[in-house]
Amino acid sequence: MRGSRCWATLCILTLLVPLAGACKKRGPSPEDAVGGPDGTGLVDEEGLAGGSPPGSSLARAQQGLPPEEGGVLRDIPFAYDSYELEGEALAALARNLEWLRANPRAKVEIEGHCDSRGTIEYNLALGAKRARSVKDYLVEQGIEASRLSTISYGEELPVCSEETESCWARNRRAHFVVLGR
């Protein structure tokens, strides 16, 4: 598409400038319309993406893959509408702590996830609390904060979608993605 590289460059520049506004992405021209409400076609992600880290739940979803459960590091479970670390969560965190100490160059992203019960925006905030409480615990245990980033996906990227207690429990978790060692 004409000028798309130019737009991408503009977007990168915009990321460096606190005040946004210059980064525009124009959708397909009316000639290649696919039937949007104004007949101007769908707006795609080209030129807007700053990218999710490889292996993250969003990057996997973009490849059509389900979110990973567990992995190199264990998932941390939570009770409903809670971001407190309790028995099972602390046991899993102890294992993850060992791994982080054994791999001192590794950086990880902690993803906060929620079950489907509750409002979308509230769950985004709850997922942020969950990821942060895990990060705070690890920092208290001596892991450098610069090795730990956090993100919330709320209820947006569930590992299962049945309306059952066992499925809800699987979705209430903090998940670790290893960004590099």
């Binding site: 409400p37 104004d38 979803a61 019960r117 985004l124 919330s152 709320g154």
Partner: protein, 434 residues
């Protein structure tokens, strides 16, 4: 002759004040009363409407709007005593005696003329008991063929104005997110002539919390295009997408009624608070400062207050606060999980979502009055008020898949709006399109 009549009708339609409000007594006049048995005839083809398709489509859309309003009982067309194609509409009044025998209190009929891409629609409503034309409804529209649906919606809104004293809400749009298409949530729009929403974006970055700009030309949303969720605005006509925030983490934003400021939910260090931003994406003021979750700011229509959701007492509840600052005042008094507040366009009521024993339900409450639950079945989330303040749209699993539903604010009527694959969420009802 026809031309002269059209011009007369146009003049009448434009100049008459909406003075005729049917006087209906009794306590249940309102959505759900089905107070008006009405017959909507297909538009008579004055030329160019092949197979009468446009005329039938107009009647279908108008009938659906009137049914959704809850004020009407639509008479079954198979019982109709006259067919629009058998009479010269402009010249002939309906057969009032026959319509009265069928039980109709109003009859809507009209004509369509197609000339190239342009269509001309004339529509009139007749009061059967009064045996007269109701000139306040009479209207002549000319425009491109693609405007047919809006002509029908505007007619429905006008009929509601004349019969109920308040303009109907159907000449509007609903923004929503949906996983229709099989992938991540994208931005869609829906109008009342559709059953299936139309995709606007294919960003593949999870679109959440769409909100209209007050000019109805663009939609604000949060999306993960740049790893963390941030705010973007899409202009519908050009499809330009513009980031409003380029640093930080933002879960939602809402334009002030004057379009000059934004209330945003911003996450810093795992905690969310409400901030006031200017239209250029610069922080003006932090409005809440609490270690607990503060989310979902909703402007009052006067632009001086806002409602939001906070878990500061340990569980999410609804609070109201002045934009100028000060104490947050709790307004939700029952239930231990109340989220997603929205302020009615007249300023008199709030709606939100509450968790009850049977799932999540929509609640409506006068600011300092009693809360009323308006949904009963399934999981119901993210209410948004109609521009006239009589209805709410929300996502619901009442029929299985998550789809858009609408209810009147008393909860007497519940109508499923979208159908099919589902995955519809976070509806935001626009202001009137004009």
């Amino acid at each position: 002759m026809i031309h002269l009549l059209s011009i007369l009708m146009l003049v009448v339609g434009l100049t008459s004040p909406p003075s005729v409000c049917a006087v209906v007594t009794g306590s249940i006049f309102g959505p759900g009363s089905e107070a008006f048995p009405i017959a909507v005839l297909p538009l008579e083809n004055l030329g160019g409407d092949q197979g009468g398709r446009l005329g039938s489509e107009f009647a279908r859309i108008l009938s659906r709007d009137l049914r959704l309003s809850g004020y009407f009982r639509l008479l079954d067309p198979v019982t109709f005593v006259e067919r629009s194609e058998s009479h010269g509409f402009a010249a002939a009044e309906p057969d009032f005696v026959a319509w009265a025998a069928l039980g109709a209190s109003e009859v809507v009929k009209g004509t369509v003329l197609v000339a190239g891409d342009q269509i001309t629609v004339e529509v009139r409503m007749y009061d059967v008991a009064g045996r007269r034309d109701v000139p306040e409804v009479g209207r002549r529209f000319t425009g491109p063929r693609t405007d047919l649906a809006r002509m029908a919606h505007r007619t429905a809104d006008r009929i509601l104005q004349v019969l109920t004293g308040e303009r109907g809400p159907f000449d509007s749009r609903i923004a929503l997110t949906s996983t229709r298409g099989g992938g991540l949530k994208e931005l869609f729009t829906y109008t009342f002539d559709q059953e299936v929403p139309v995709a606007v974006t294919s960003l593949r970055g999870i679109v959440v919390g769409p909100r209209w700009h007050p000019d109805r030309r663009s939609i604000l949303f949060a999306s993960y295009q740049q790893h963390q969720p941030r705010l973007f605005q899409i202009e519908l006509a050009s499809r330009d997408v513009r980031p409003l925030t380029s640093q930080g983490v933002f879960l939602s934003g809402a334009w002030s009624p004057d379009g000059l400021q934004l209330l945003v939910t911003r996450e810093v260090g795992g905690n969310t608070d409400i901030y006031l931003y200017d239209a250029g994406g610069r922080e003006l003021r932090r409005l809440t400062d609490h270690w607990a979750i503060d989310v979902s700011p909703a402007w009052a229509p006067d632009g001086r207050r806002f409602a939001f959701c906070s878990a500061r007492t340990g569980a999410p509840q609804i609070y109201v606060m002045d934009i100028a600052g000060g104490e947050a005042r709790r307004v939700s008094r029952t239930g231990n999980y109340n989220t997603s507040p929205v302020w009615s366009p007249k300023g008199d009521m709030l709606a939100w979502v509450t968790r009850g024993s049977g799932g999540f339900q929509v609640v409506v409450q006068p600011i300092d009055g009693e809360a009323r639950t308006i949904t009963r079945h399934g999981s119901n989330e993210d209410p948004s008020w109609s521009p006239d303040g009589r209805y709410l749209v929300f996502s619901s699993t009442q029929s299985g898949r998550r789809l858009l539903w609408m209810a009147d604010r008393e909860g007497r009527t519940q109508h499923q709006l979208t159908s099919g694959a589902g995955g519809d969420s976070s509806p935001a009802w626009s202001a009137w399109l004009e």
